[in-house]
Structures are given as structure tokens and as C-alpha cells.
């Protein structure tokens, strides 16, 4: 046991040297579904600091706490060549006041098609998919979802504009997602109102006060498939600190609107990430 701990400690101490070449913060944070991005929106950036010919691994945990619900996420990811990103995330959704909980797994894949976040006039553009599956299909089917699994496909464009806002760098991101998911899939996929893919717009804007410190806002448009309760668009405001190439922390305020008939779900967002 002692040996194991000392091995782990020396591993952790030796790993930071393995961080890649990318500039601080350009791997983004990890969004709630495991993709590199902001808090609720996947960006075109590839997770971690692996540049050309390099690879990186990352792990993250995040928590969204609103009036009547808590969403806890944790996952691992890897990237190669600043081009490919894979991630595996488990989401635990607690219905704090209604009682009960559910779990959903998300497998994420992202491919950086063209453009470079910092260096090209054209934004960095990536194509991604998220396959989501419930561990127990009871609750989503009970609220009227057609399925307990689904695949989102998205295309994201991200770009940093140097010195654009009072001398600070500005990151803009726009993502278009094709989805059937109800409340990002936590309440299943499809419903009585709508049971086919719809395009949703998601966007983020962040100002880098320093290269390692970002403040930003996000918006995520949502479908409204279920008959039993209206679904609202999501918004957040966040502050992200990229402590070094290995650790980052993001805190935020989220407004998730109405969830499962309970209105005005607002609260906090907190994410921790480790990248090697």
C-alpha cells in the first residue's frame, strides 16, 4: 500500500513534464458532457495541451447545483495531435426535491477539421458526436421519452481575437447541434411533442483577462419534446482559472429555466480538471 502511494505520488509529480505544447487555456475546460469547451457548450477546441504529434489525457469532475436538482459529472478523456478527442463521462442526476436519481453515460468523439484557434483568420472548426445511454431506463420512459439512448452530432467553430476587448483576447464560439435529447438526455430522447432531430444553437463568449483567466457567458438552445413539462434554454456565466498546464478550475452561475415542471432552476456550476 505504501509502495502504491509512493508510486502514485511520484507518477503525479513526474507527469506534469508530459504536458503538451499548446498555449495555456487553449484546450478549454471540460463541459458537462465531457467535451472540451465551456461549462454547457462544447467548443471546437481539443481537450488538453497536445499539439501536433503529441497526445494528452485528462480527467474532470463537475457539479451543477440548482434549486431542485443536482447534476454530478465525472469523466476521462484523451486527445491526439490537437485533432482527435475522445471522452467517457458519467452523469449522475439527483432529483433532490422529487426524490430519486438517474445515471447517464456519454461517449464523446471530436475531430478538428480545419482552422487554428489562435493562428488562422478562419475559426477552428470541429465535428463532434455524443452517444448517450441511460444506466436505467425507468425514469426517462416514465416521463414520456421515446428512447433511453441517443446520439447528438454537432459542429463547432471557435476563434480567439487578440486584444479585441480593451486589449484583452476574446474567444467566440458557436455550435450547432442536431439532437433529440430532452434536458441533454437526462430525461431521455424524443417525446410526444417531437421525435426527430432538431438543430439547436449554442454559443459562448469569453474574455481572457489574463492568458490564464477567462470570464464568459454561454447560451444553449434546447428542444421541447416532452408533453409533460416544458423545457427551457440554458444560460450561464463563468470564471475559469487555468492554474497551469495540468490543472484548471471553473466556477459559474447557471440558469437552467424549468426542469420537469419545476420552474426557475438556478444555481452554481463548479468544474475541476486535471490534464497530463
Amino acid at each position: 500500500m505504501k509502495l502504491l502511494i509512493s508510486m502514485l505520488v511520484s507518477l503525479i509529480l513526474s507527469l506534469p513534464a508530459a504536458a503538451g505544447s499548446k498555449v495555456i487555456a487553449t484546450g478549454g475546460s471540460t463541459s458537462i458532457e465531457g467535451a472540451a469547451g465551456g461549462g454547457i457548450v462544447p467548443w471546437a477546441v481539443i481537450n488538453g495541451y497536445a499539439s501536433s504529434g503529441q497526445w494528452s489525457v485528462n480527467s474532470f469532475t463537475s457539479r451543477v447545483g440548482v434549486d431542485d436538482f443536482t447534476l454530478q459529472n465525472f469523466g476521462i478523456g484523451a486527445s491526439y495531435n490537437n485533432q482527435w478527442e475522445v471522452s467517457l463521462t458519467r452523469q449522475k442526476f439527483n432529483l433532490d426535491t422529487m426524490g430519486g436519481d438517474l445515471q447517464q453515460d456519454v461517449f464523446g468523439l471530436k475531430y478538428h477539421i480545419t482552422g487554428e484557434l489562435l493562428y488562422t483568420q478562419q475559426p477552428q472548426i470541429s465535428l463532434g458526436l455524443q452517444y448517450k445511454k441511460h444506466r436505467n431506463s425507468g425514469l426517462p420512459l416514465a416521463v414520456g421519452a421515446q428512447k433511453d439512448s441517443g446520439t447528438d452530432v454537432y459542429i463547432a467553430a471557435s476563434k480567439v481575437y487578440f486584444g479585441a476587448v480593451a486589449g484583452r483576447n476574446l474567444l467566440l464560439n458557436a455550435t450547432i447541434r442536431a439532437t433529440k435529447a430532452n434536458q441533454i438526455g437526462l430525461l431521455g430522447f424524443g417525446g410526444a411533442n417531437h421525435n426527430s432531430y432538431q438543430y439547436m444553437l449554442e454559443s459562448s463568449a469569453a474574455i481572457l483577462l489574463r492568458p490564464d483567466l477567462a470570464v464568459g457567458i454561454e447560451f444553449r438552445q434546447k428542444p421541447n419534446n416532452l408533453a409533460f413539462a416544458d423545457e427551457a434554454h440554458w444560460r450561464d456565466f463563468f470564471v475559469g482559472w487555468f492554474i497551469n498546464q495540468n490543472f484548471s478550475v471553473v466556477g459559474g452561475y447557471v440558469d437552467l429555466g424549468s426542469i420537469a415542471g419545476l420552474a426557475q432552476q438556478q444555481g452554481y456550476y463548479l468544474a475541476l480538471e486535471a490534464t497530463f
Binding site: S21, N82, L118, T120, Q121, Y161, V165, A166, D255
Partner: protein, 149 residues
């Protein structure tokens, strides 16, 4: 009501971004050599380049590209280039970026490393964040002429 307040917050943030945009547009009408001054004029740029040379020397990822480079000449040309680029009273006398990097097979990782070194050196020399960003913004478009040539 809480939701309305939050939407208001969001809107006001958006508005402040737009106002800041407008302000930053105005501030760009100042002296042509403002960035050059912010980098510490000739002496400051020389210090930046010397700091960068030290970083390159200690970086096994990129130092090999400079194996056959006349460092004194490289230093002089880079100083000229940063001086001219920042609005200073210099003229870059070297060849084009594309010409000077062809055959070196510089990768994105090499380029990223150089950008990080430059940021580190500028921070160590207390160059303001906005001046750093402005210089990086002038250098970034050279990416296409430098990598994978």
C-alpha cells in the same frame, strides 16, 4: 422574477462587451509607435529577443532547427522585425517568412512552443497584457507562412 433578473444580467454583459469593443476601436487611433513604446522601445525589444534566444536554446523540441543558423544575424533580423511590426523606426531587411522557413519542417508544436516562450519572456519583462496580445495578434497570421514548409 429571478429568471428575468438573470436575463438582465446576461444582456448587460453582452452590452458591456459591445461597449468595450467600441472603446477598443477608439483607442487604436493613438500614436503609430504606441506598441513599440509599450514593448520598451529598442532596448526592450532587444531584451525580449535575447530572452527568447535563451528559451529556444533550452528547448530540445525546437533548438535543432537553429543548428545551422547564424544566431547573431537571426537576432538582428528578429529585432528589426519586431521593431517594424510594432511601429518602431526600423526596417526588416530579411527575406519573407515563407522563404526563411521553407525546408525546416516546422510543426504546429514547434510554433506553439515559440509562442509560449515569447509570452513567458514578455511577462518576465513586465510587458502589459494588452501589449502582449497586440504583438501576438500581429505575429499569429504568420503561422501559415512558417509551419509545414
Amino acid at each position: 422574477m429571478k429568471a428575468a433578473t438573470f436575463s438582465g444580467l446576461w444582456l448587460s454583459l453582452g452590452l458591456s462587451v459591445m461597449i468595450l469593443f467600441a472603446l477598443s476601436g477608439c483607442s487604436q487611433t493613438v500614436a503609430k509607435d504606441q506598441l513599440y513604446q509599450q514593448l520598451g522601445s529598442g532596448a526592450g525589444i532587444e531584451k525580449i529577443v535575447d530572452g527568447l534566444l535563451v528559451e529556444i536554446e533550452n528547448d530540445p523540441q525546437i533548438v535543432h532547427h537553429f543548428r545551422d543558423t547564424d544566431i547573431a544575424r537571426f537576432r538582428k533580423l528578429l529585432i528589426e522585425q519586431l521593431c517594424e511590426l510594432s511601429g518602431g523606426p526600423c526596417k526588416y531587411t530579411g527575406v519573407s517568412m515563407q522563404e526563411s522557413h521553407t525546408g525546416f519542417k516546422i510543426t504546429q508544436a514547434d510554433f506553439d512552443n515559440l509562442v509560449r516562450h515569447l509570452m513567458k519572456v514578455m511577462t518576465e519583462q513586465h510587458i502589459s497584457t494588452s501589449a502582449q496580445n497586440q504583438l501576438l495578434g500581429l505575429l499569429a497570421p504568420m503561422y501559415g507562412d512558417i509551419v509545414y514548409r
